[in-house]
């Protein structure tokens, strides 16, 4: 079984900003250890084989819009919900910490 510890899973969960309760942590650690064990078969793959150009999206021409200035397309007009929206900017109260600026 892969040597991944509870502490390691807790650290990763912190990194991912996902709270894991103590009751679930042991089971989750065992499951992830098993999964990582399964991934071990990739160790024999030569990393030099990686070639982004082979990904389908890299080999397909995408449609680009014309490079022209235009009004941004919005699903909802900001004027319908923002108190003040001017020159494509939302006006907000000055923060107290910026009073003297």
């Amino acid at each position: 079984m892969s040597q991944v510890s509870r502490d390691e899973i807790e650290r990763i969960a912190q990194l991912a900003c996902v709270e894991i309760d103590d009751a679930s942590l042991s089971t989750l650690t065992d499951q992830i250890a098993q999964i990582l064990d399964y991934f071990a078969q990739l160790a024999s793959v030569e990393a030099t084989h990686s070639s982004p150009r082979l990904h389908r999206s890299a080999r397909t021409s995408s449609s680009f819009r014309d490079d022209k200035t235009a009004e941004p397309e919005r699903a909802i007009n900001p004027n319908t919900f923002a108190p003040v929206f001017e020159q494509q900017l939302f006006a907000v109260p000055r923060l107290g910490s910026m009073e003297n600026e």
């Binding site: 969960a13 990582l36 991934f39 082979l54 999206s57 397909t60 995408s62």
Partner: protein, 462 residues
């Protein structure tokens, strides 16, 4: 039949199957459906799909219904925009019938990981319909709608199609716009189609396909158009990869696949044994890359802009992120986010993600080599088994992942594939899949039409 008549029939059928406990539908309002139909009839709108009621997997944004991804973290979320695929369906006269159940955020192979409860198999309630698009597959199989949209990241259209005995199409990556499809694995995700027949599924695919300026990964191509039906397959070479007909394959699936291969041969195709030597590392490759991408894509669900928010009253935004995501996501989603974060983290990136990218290149090359060697299409069983029991694999995530073995290589390579019901085994549907080179859906679908015609879908495979 007017659109209102079609809508009323769909309402009746959806209500009937849901009252019987199917649990395939998580967003539905008969008044919303009838209103769409009445507008269509009033305006005398016509189109390729006029009056067709279509179920929509609930990770595709719609204006008519909330988009929840079957997750607590998006419960009740109303999208301010609709997916391009939805816009095109409506332009063709289709009716957005309902939102269908799924494994949360598309992560699962059984439609058991939904905050709304599991979807039943349409024929045997104790079994799963497959996933993650199980709601759409079950609803089409139950006869409540003629067609439905699903999505694939790793087999999530083809596998439930095979389990439920309906047709499921996964298009080439870039064939259909991903605008409005909630992202799971952005280099893999594609909207797919379910239908009770190849023709029905193909008609819907043609409608939703084509270039889209809102999706930079959508290919700069016209919408798919299909040629004339084939009378026979005499100009076709179909490869059968040895790695998909292993000794430990379920006997019924093997028998059904062998029968289908005989039928394809009798229809004129040249059958050739081929090899895709890196098939065995496809699952490991997929389950490194997909969770890695998911960990990035699901970072946006943090309680700030939309969806569930827990905590934050103490002014600590980090606490709010962790509590919202910890309690808003289900167990499988949390697991995949942790796996994805792990394989991308410092010290592990090269050993896992770097290797998986290299493996993906090898898997893609396998397909390219076979197609370059004169093979037009590949045929394989869609799944290694028929529909399994509910609860059978939920305690063992790895066993659930392994059930995707015949599907994920196609997703990694970005190729199109279609699953067609080919027989039954111990009373349950068996699916066979055709895989084509990129953007050759036309030939793939024409061949699938012939396959559908020559097999006996209801026969018990022996």
């Amino acid at each position: 039949m007017s659109a209102a008549q079609t809508a009323r029939r769909a309402i009746q059928q959806i209500t009937k199957v849901e009252q019987a406990g199917l649990n395939a539908v998580i967003g539905f309002d008969s008044e919303v459906l009838l209103h769409q139909a009445n507008v269509l009839d009033r305006d005398k709108k016509s189109g390729a799909l006029a009056g067709l009621a279509v179920g929509i997997k609930d990770n595709i944004c719609t204006l008519e219904y909330p988009t929840t991804c079957a997750s607590r973290i998006l419960e009740g979320y109303i999208s301010p925009y609709e997916a391009t695929a939805i816009t095109r369906l409506k332009q063709a006269g289709a009716l957005i019938a309902c939102k269908t159940n799924l494994d949360e955020f598309g992560m699962g192979s059984s439609t058991e990981h939904s905050v709304f409860g599991r979807t039943q198999h349409p024929e045997q309630a104790s079994r799963v319909p497959g996933g993650s698009s199980g709601g759409s597959a079950a609803l089409v199989a139950a006869g409540a709608v003629e067609a439905a949209l699903g999505s694939e990241t790793g087999g999530s259209v083809r596998q439930p199609a095979a389990f439920c005995g309906v047709v499921g199409i996964k298009p080439t990556y870039g064939r259909v716009s991903r605008y409005g499809l909630v992202a799971f694995g952005s280099s893999l995700d594609q909207i797919g189609v379910f239908g009770r027949s190849v023709q029905m599924a193909a008609d819907v695919l043609c409608t939703i396909s084509g270039r889209d300026r809102f999706d930079a990964t959508c290919a700069d191509r016209d919408p798919l158009q299909l040629g004339d039906c084939l009378d026979d397959l005499s100009d076709l070479t179909i490869g059968v990869p040895a790695e998909y007909l292993t000794d430990d394959l379920d006997a019924g699936v093997r028998a059904a696949s062998n029968n289908a291969i005989h039928q394809l041969r009798d229809a004129g195709a040249t059958i050739r044994d081929v090899s895709l030597p890196h098939t065995q590392i496809a699952i490991a490759t997929y389950y490194v890359i997909a969770p890695a991408e998911a960990s990035a894509n699901l970072a946006r669900f943090d309680g700030v802009r939309y969806g569930l928010r827990i905590g934050g009253d103490n002014g600590l935004v980090g606490d709010m992120y962790r509590a919202t995501r910890g309690r808003g996501f289900g167990a499988e989603v949390r697991r995949r986010i942790i796996v994805g974060t792990y394989v991308l983290s410092a010290g592990y990136y090269d050993a896992y993600y770097g290797k998986a990218l290299a493996a993906r290149t090898l898997i893609t090359q396998d397909f390219d080599d076979v197609f370059a060697d004169g093979v037009d299409l590949l045929f394989t069983p869609t799944t290694p088994t028929t529909a399994f029991d509910a609860g059978e694999k939920t305690a063992d995530p790895l066993s659930m992942y392994l059930s995707d073995l015949f599907a994920v290589a196609t997703n990694l390579a970005g190729l199109p594939a279609i699953s067609v019901p080919i027989a039954r085994s111990r009373g349950l549907p068996v699916g066979g899949q055709l895989i084509a080179p990129a953007f050759q859906e036309d030939r793939m679908i024409q061949t699938a039409r012939v396959l559908e015609r020559v097999v006996d879908q209801g026969a018990e495979a022996r």
